[in-house]
Amino acid sequence: MSQKALVEFKDLHTEFYTEAGVVKAVSGVSFQIRPGETVCVVGESGSGKSVTALSLMRLLANNAKIVKGEIIFDGRDVLKLKPHEMRRLRGNEIGMIFQEPMTSLNPVLTVGEQIMEPIIEHRMFSKREARKYAIELIEMVGIPRAHEIVDAYPHELSGGMRQRIMIAIALSCEPKLIIADEPTTALDVTIQAQILDLLRKLKSEKNVALMLITHDLGVVAEMADYVVVMYGGRVVEEGKVMEVFKNPRHPYTEGLLKAKPIIGERKERLYTIPGQVPSPLNLPLYCHFADRCPYVMPVCKEQYPDTFIDADGHKVACWLHAEGARA
């Protein structure tokens, strides 16, 4: 695992300027994705997972700004790229799948046209070659009757099929990284499993890295090699998937795992983490989780914890682990 990182987020800070004030959506996020690896970014809504991904694609809304930090992709600082260089990265080296398959495809263009676009743009295919390749891609993502589907409009397809089309678009230029932003959240449970299977299969065939954003720990257990847990715009814990599940270090991760239903076990009530997610408008200077933490200590309300690294490379931002080796 000492391979060179494909993506490296270094102390990323992204802020939104709203009427209510400055929202620090991401403050000081650092982690890596190695080639061919699946990294799951887990967290509640508003924890900054999507913003982190969109910062990498530089597709943030107009009122957002990356104020600090670096994002290195394949040896280049993404944030310093010129617009045309950025365009060559998007769709070509990084493919992206969004949460809402119902609205992510253009309603007035055929799916074939939409798959062909990046191929023609980045791979210089002729229209006819691109169409042939688009049909192959539709078959590859497991949609039957690809010859007919290529001329269909998005509204003629089901949600699961549309998400497969999105996957076909993301994979069309054989990228090095695929970002999947909650790709299964809007789908039925049975379809979810199919889409995840497809992603896993294609990922191993094409040997692409996958940055999978989710709040579903079941998805994490099934897909991830490595887990990054985010809370209040910061990474609170990261480590290999087995380690995080077996031995969570951060009280927040522990709470998340406790709140997960286990099949075959009946409980009156599922565990919930007490309290509310802090407002992203004015996050405290101390640990964001301190107000909900069952193990809270005086130091937790004074200072934001440093990141501590275990002997096996497991990282956690929590004062409980201060006696461990300092980062």
Binding site: L59, G91, N92, E117
Partner: protein, 322 residues
């Protein structure tokens, strides 16, 4: 598709009949008629003479009968004879409507092109100085009354700096032919076209801007950017095609406007258009002309609606007609 259009055309017949009844009632039940408008002030006209004239024009028959006669003739293609011009209504309309049409058609083209350009750029550059200046200018032009704007332009460009003529449609006394005539008409058209374009561009610009702003925030536009497409491809292929959908209805409903003339502007620039003619006809109670023309415009409105639905089906695969 053809079947759909035919069905819609047949379905519109009751609407047209309804419209004709309303038009007939509104005009005939208004106080006064052609005779009182022409001779009401004439002391030499005796009551008997007036009644005789009413008899001659068929104005003394009961309403249902008059309606039946009017409609019966229209079905045969005869809109009656204009009292004022002593010519068939269709001839009168045909003489003047095309003068209005070239004016309105030019305005329509200019207005839509300019509004599209200005509105789209304003949407992309939302809240920038450009956007705010455009908004200011557009509202300014929109809120000026047509008589004021028209007279202002006349004073500036026809009186002070004699670039454009004072009025009319062609120069009197100099008979032009072919190209020279077209150039002469275009020269006369300039000021009324500018006036009408400035008045109408405001609303449309806002429509373009709003529609574009709504579409730019959609997920599929983000998808298009995420595919690494060039900005102009994203804007014109992905965003604009969707932004135009709600504007199709607006565009098709311009159809009657192309033929209805601009009453005030035509008057200021002394343009021999249908707007001026119908206004005179209303004052003079020239029923056959006014009713015929109003019916013509209502048929165009209905056709415009059908056109809007057909175009919508062509442009949006989700409502495509079978």
């Amino acid at each position: 598709m053809t079947q759909y259009i035919i069905r819609r055309l047949i379905e519109s017949i009751p609407t047209i009949i309804g419209a004709s009844i309303i038009i007939f009632l509104v005009f005939t039940m208004a106080p006064g008629d052609f005779i009182s408008a022409q001779f009401g002030m004439d002391s030499k006209m005796t009551q008997e003479k007036k009644e005789e004239l009413r008899e001659l024009y068929g104005l003394n028959k009961p309403l249902p009968e008059r309606y039946a006669i009017w409609m019966g003739e229209i079905v045969k293609g005869n809109f009656g004879e204009s009292y004022l011009y002593k010519k068939p209504v269709t001839d009168v309309i045909n003489t003047f409507v095309w003068n209005s049409f070239i004016l309105s058609a030019t305005v329509l083209v200019l207005q839509w092109m300019a509004a599209a350009l200005v509105g789209i750029v304003a949407a992309i550059k939302q809240y920038t100085l450009y956007d705010q200046l455009v908004t200011l200018f557009v509202f300014l032009a929109m809120s000026l009354p047509s008589f004021f704007l028209g007279l202002l332009l006349l004073k500036l460009f026809a009186v002070d700096y004699r670039i454009f003529p004072l009025g009319g449609m062609s120069s009197t006394g100099i008979p032009h032919e072919g190209w020279a005539y077209i150039k002469d008409v275009m020269w006369h058209m300039a000021l009324p076209v500018i006036t009408l374009t400035m008045l109408s561009i405001g609303g449309l610009t806002r429509y373009f801007r709003t529609s574009m702003l709504e579409v730019i925030r959609q997920d599929y536009v983000r998808t298009a950017y995420a595919k690494g497409l060039k900005d102009h491809v994203v804007i014109f292929k992905h965003a604009l095609r969707n932004a135009l959908l709600p504007l199709i209805t607006l565009f098709a409903l311009e159809l009657p406007g192309l033929f209805s003339g601009a009453i005030i502007t035509e008057r200021i620039f002394n343009w021999p258009g249908i707007g001026k003619v119908t206004l005179d006809a209303i004052f003079q109670r020239d029923y056959p002309l006014v009713m015929g023309f109003t019916l013509f415009i209502s048929v165009l409105t209905i056709l415009g609606n059908i056109l809007a639905d057909v175009l919508y089906g062509v442009a949006d695969p989700r409502v495509r007609h079978r």
